[in-house]
Symmetry: C2
Subunit: 147 residues, 2 copies
């Protein structure tokens, strides 16, 4: 019972490939849903993380939303232009910038959450309750063991 693939195994037996494929497919589905609001997936992540009402530094936020720092900076620039979020310099540490969500951003986030939840409900429907729960558990555990 080979756990790691052999060197001549098809690429479809590699965990890295299966993850990339599944992520691509699910992300594409979500992207399509969120397009109703004209918002990329990453902006939904940002709004959702900021929705706890606390200020988050750029570094913190970049980790949370799975973006590199310069990419995040530029995306935040756009969101500031759209009045979805705003910057405040951290009074405790003036190197940092704290990000907050605006009322407009909160309202948009609610609509996006609804679309995202509906997508996941759709997945659960065709994929099954048990499988979804178990898959999430295994992914969390993989992420934990990779650090």
């Amino acid at each position: 019972m080979a756990k790691p693939p052999k060197e001549n195994s098809p690429i479809t037996e590699h965990l890295a490939y299966l993850l990339a494929q599944a992520n691509r497919e699910i992300n594409r589905q979500l992207e399509t849903r969120l397009a109703k609001e004209g918002v990329p997936v990453e902006q939904w992540r940002i709004l959702k993380v900021l929705s706890d009402g606390n200020g988050h530094s750029m570094g913190e936020l970049a980790d949370a939303v799975l973006l590199n720092h310069p990419t995040l900076t530029k995306m935040i620039d756009r969101m500031v232009s759209d009045a979805l979020v705003y910057r405040v310099q951290d009074p405790k540490d003036r190197r940092k910038v704290l990000m907050f969500v605006s009322d407009r951003g909160k309202a948009l986030c609610r609509r996006l959450n609804s679309l995202a939840v509906s997508q996941e409900e759709h997945i659960v429907e065709s994929y099954g309750d048990k499988s979804t729960t178990e898959l999430k558990r295994l992914l969390e555990s993989l992420i934990g063991s990779a650090n």
Copy 2:
């Protein structure tokens, strides 16, 4: 036992997010390994798919390696310059181009396979045999149910 997250759930409970996070982490690890040969993950995928010795059209290949068509075209241009692969016009259907690996590409692919297998062995070590097998099974099934 909530299967889909509620609208105010943290983003970390969304399947789409967990997949993106896990993929990012594992892909980054693999990227680091393959960097020893100076090759991006996508080129390894291309070489591996072509390693069955059959000619593959660009469309076929794009699907298999999870790249959009124009992105693939440009990456193949580079690989042709590096003499790793070559194009042949399909005699059965002259709209198509069939891609093949060169000997140089095959040799590189062998070295890359070894690095990739070693990565997955490393994952299995810390994550466990059972978990890895089960995660792969669930991912395959998710991909299947998503189409």
